[in-house]
Amino acid sequence: MAAHEPVGTAERPLRVAIIGAGPTGYYAADHLLRQTAPVIEVDLFDRLPTPFGLVRYGVAPDHQKIKSVTAAFDKVATHPRFRFFGHVELGKDVSVDDLRRHYHQILYCTGAQTDRRMGIPGEDLRGSHPATEFVAWYNGHPDFRDCQFDLTKERVAVVGVGNVAVDVARILCRSADELATTDIADYALEALRHSRVKEVYLLGRRGPAQAAFTNPEIKELGELADADITVRPEEVELDELTRAALAQNPDRATSKKVEILQSYAHRPRTGKSKLLVVRFLVSPVELLGDDAGEVTAIRLVRNRLVATPTGTLQAKPTGEIEDLPVGLVFRSVGYKGVPMPGVPFNDSWAVILNDKGRVLDPDTKQPIVGEYTAGWIKRGPTGVIGTNKPDAAETVACMMEDQARGLVLHPDEPSRAAVDALIRQRQPLYFSYDDWRGLDGLEVAAGRRAGRPRVKFTSVEDMAHALGRRSE
C-alpha cells in the first residue's frame, strides 16, 4: 500500500473536507487554498443547498451591507481546487467514517445551531419562542419557513440586548414599506404586513453600559420610520460602579452608547404607530399564561449591578417584581453548539472538544489525528463575522503544522472522483457551486424586478425546481 507517501504534492494533494459553508468555512478554505505548499484540495459541505450560513439566514434582511462579505466568499469559490456540496448533511447523508475514507483532514465549522433557554417557569407556553427561530423564519431558512408566530398580539417582549435581540425588535418595528425593499422571505413580508404589534420591549439584564449592542445598532433603532423609541430615565442613569469603571478605564464607544440611550429618555412621542421600549436592569423570572396555555405576561425582577473580583459588573436581583403584559416572547439569551454524531463534545462550553482547533479525544485529551474545528463550534458564539477569520487562521496553522509532521489521515480513496460517486449515491439532489450561482442569479433577477436585493427561494423543492431538477 502506497498510502504513506508524502501528501501535499500536485500528484497527491492534501485533501480537506470542511463541514459548514458559513463564514468560517470560507475563511478556512481561503487560508488553506492560499498556502504555497502543500497543494491542497478543499471540498466544502453544507446541509443546506445554499452557502453562506448565517450571512444568508442570520444577518437581518435590512442589513444588506453586512451581507456584502459574500463577494469575498464567491471569490474563494472560483479557486480550481475548491468544490461545494450543498444539501449534504454530516450524520445523515455522509458519516465521519465516510470522510475518513476520502480526506486527509476534516474541519468542522458548524456554528452554534441552537439557542440557550432562560430556564424559567412558563418558558414553553404558546407564544414563547427562541429569537433564532424568528430570525431563520424571516430570512427564509428552509427548515423554519413553516414556523408560526402570532403577530395579532399587540405587545411583544424580546429578552436580551445582543445583536440578534436588536434585529428581532427592529424587524418587528419596521413598516411593511421598509421591509418591502429588503430580501426578507415573501411569506414573512406578508405576515408582517398584517402584524398588529404595537409595543416591543427589549429587555436587558444589566445596565446600558454593559449592553452588547453596538452604537450604530442603537442609533438605527432611533431612526425607524414607523416606531418611536423610549427608555426609562432611571434605567439609563449610570450606577456608581459603572461610573467608577468608566472613570478608571475611559471608553469612548461605551460613553457614546450611554449618551445615545439617555437621549431617548426625553424624546417626545411623535405619533408613529409603534413604540419600542428598551429596558435595562430587569431579568425575566417567569412567563405567565392563561387557561389556554398562551403567554399573557412576563414577570420581571429588577436587578442592581455588583462587581465580581475581576471587576465584571453582574446583575443581581433585588426582589422587586413587575409584570409586563405581553402576548409574544422571543428569547435571545445566547446560543450554543450542538453535538455531532462521532465528534467529541465539550459540554461545559457547548463546543467541540478542542485545543486551538485540534479536536481532542475525550479520554486522553490528546489530539485526534486529522480532525479540526473552527468558528463558533470551536470557541462559542462571539464576535462579528470577521472574528472568524483569525480564528480559522489559528486552526489552519495547526493543520499545516500537523501535515508537515505527517500527522494526517490515510484515506483509502483520496480522490475527487470517489467523493463525486459517493455523494451521487447518498444524496442525488446535491447542489454544486454552479447550481448556487444559478440560484443566486435567479434570486437577484427576481429582486431587480421587485426593487429588492433578491427574492429568496425558501424551500429545497423550489430550488431544485428552479434549476430544472427533480426533488424526491
Binding site: 478605564n249 475581576t310 471587576g311
Partner: protein, 150 residues
C-alpha cells in the same frame, strides 16, 4: 464577550498541583506543558497559584528550595474569575493588578485558567475581525459605486 470563549478552545485540561508537592515537580510540570503558572488545588477548589516567577525568585534566594513544598512559595491571595466575566473587565483587572494568570471557577470547581496572553489574543482577534469586516464593507461600497459610474 465573556471569558468562557477563551476557555472553550483551550482543551479543558487544567494543569494543577497539590500544596504539598515539591517545587521541583512544579518546575517539571511548567516545562512539560510549556506554561507559566500552575493552580494549586486542595480538594476541588484552588488554594493558590504558583508561577515561574515565584520559583525564580525563591531560587535566587536559596538554591536548595526545589525540595520544599509548593505551599512555601505559592501566592495565596488569588483573584478568581467566573466564565461569565467580561473579557474587557478581566483584561483591565489583570493589567492594573499585574496578574498574569487567572484561575476560573464555576460552582466551586476549577474549570480553566486564563493567561494575560489569552486575553490579549482574544482582544486582538476581536479588533482584527471588526477592522477587517468594516474595511471590506467600505471597499465593497466603493467598488459598487465605481461600477455604477462606469
Amino acid at each position: 464577550m465573556n471569558i468562557a470563549s477563551l476557555l472553550a478552545s483551550k482543551g479543558g485540561n487544567v494543569i494543577t498541583v497539590g500544596p504539598q508537592e515539591s517545587i521541583r515537580s512544579a518546575l517539571g510540570l511548567l516545562a512539560q506543558h510549556n506554561i507559566g503558572a500552575l493552580v494549586v488545588v486542595e480538594g476541588r477548589g484552588p488554594v493558590g497559584i504558583v508561577s515561574e516567577r515565584d520559583i525564580v525568585r525563591a531560587l535566587a534566594r536559596t538554591e536548595s528550595i526545589l525540595v520544599q513544598p509548593i505551599a512555601a512559595i505559592m501566592t495565596r491571595e488569588v483573584i478568581i474569575g467566573t466564565p461569565q466575566d467580561d473579557l474587557i473587565a478581566v483584561g483591565n483587572t489583570m493589567t492594573e493588578r499585574r496578574i498574569r494568570h487567572l484561575p476560573v471557577v464555576e460552582g466551586g470547581r476549577l474549570v480553566g485558567i486564563v493567561s494575560i496572553g489569552d486575553v490579549v489574543k482574544a482582544q486582538r482577534d476581536q479588533y482584527q475581525g471588526e477592522v477587517d469586516t468594516l474595511q471590506f464593507q467600505i471597499l465593497h461600497e466603493d467598488e459598487a459605486k465605481m461600477r455604477q459610474a462606469s
